[in-house]
């Protein structure tokens, strides 16, 4: 197998955008990188100082540039989620996961055998189930 063929078997370097408040995205991507070495699948996007129209434009631009179809955001009510929902309106091949957490992203970066949107849907379930309460009468 040539080196080119080997490369074509590999998943695309970037598979999803992570966006949210403050340093949420950079922090989560950094954690994914530290745990798995696969943080380069994720594009952290910070939106400090931006209004909603500019957030939407920035996320749209990054999606097109990197040809990704998955966005992870932090909060259902957040500006990044609102902007992403506007971007996804009228598209049928992209997925937004709002309320993403570290277990969500860890599951996503290991799911290389399926499309990124499929992996994201699976990862969302894993992330939801990964929240546990310990102590204080739990």
């Amino acid at each position: 197998m040539s080196s080119d063929e080997k490369q074509s078997d590999q998943p695309p370097r970037h598979r999803a955008i992570v966006a949210g408040h403050g340093e949420f995205a950079a922090g989560l991507v950094s954690a994914v990188q530290q745990i798995t070495g696969r943080g380069d699948q994720l594009i952290p996007v910070a939106v400090h100082k931006l209004g909603v129209a500019d957030i939407e434009a920035l996320l749209r631009e990054r999606m097109l540039e990197e040809n990704v179809r998955v966005i992870f955001t932090d909060l259902q009510a957040g500006s990044c989620t609102m902007a992403s929902r506007r971007i996804l309106r009228g598209t049928d091949d992209a997925v937004l996961i709002a309320g993403a957490n570290l277990p969500t992203l860890l599951d996503f970066v290991f799911a290389e055998g399926v499309s990124a949107p499929q992996a994201a849907r699976h990862a969302a379930e894993r992330g939801r189930a990964a929240i546990a309460v310990h102590g204080a009468g739990a």
Binding site: K49, V52, G78, T81, M82
Partner: protein, 161 residues
């Protein structure tokens, strides 16, 4: 209770409003005043999905909001009135006697200059804020309840940025 916060925020309903202010003030309803959103069912649905089920959201154009302000002020619950720009809030203040206005977020865009981390203003917006204050409205900037309110003079001078 009544409308406990009149906020100018170009992100409208988002995390700071729903969680940052909503939880400590026990906010049970939001009045979103925006001519564009008031005319766009899909946008309204988008914003409704951003709030918890126990929080109601009402959408109005500026003209419509003036007519319905008394109803929200006499509501027994605590509410926030939101506009996305200064002009809309000025219109409401002039017509219905708003005494305090919170600048929660006016973000970077062409023609605006940074005044605070979360406040960017164009020259005409600075004039609108001065006019609002000249009518006796107390205008301060404060993104979240735990932050110190910044006076309008300090906002305009950019001394806090």
């Amino acid at each position: 209770m009544t409308l406990v916060l009149y906020r100018i925020d170009d992100r409208l309903i988002h995390g700071q409003v729903v969680v940052g202010w909503g939880q400590p003030l026990d906010i049970e309803f939001i009045v979103l005043v925006d001519d564009t959103v008031a005319d766009a069912e899909w946008e309204q649905e988008l914003y409704r999905m951003g709030v918890p089920p126990e929080m109601e959201v009402f959408f109005h154009s500026a003209d419509d909001a003036i007519k319905t302000m008394a109803k929200y002020r006499s509501d027994t619950r605590a509410g926030i009135l939101l506009t996305g720009d200064i002009a809309t809030m000025s219109k409401l203040a002039a017509a219905s006697g708003i005494s305090t206005v919170n600048i929660g977020g006016l973000h970077s865009r062409a023609g605006r200059v940074q005044k605070l981390r979360y406040v960017f203003l164009a020259p005409d917006e600075e004039r609108e804020l001065r006019a609002l204050a000249a009518r006796g409205v107390a205008v301060t900037a404060q993104d979240v309840p735990t932050a110190r309110p910044v006076s309008l003079e300090d906002v305009l001078s950019g001394s806090e940025s």
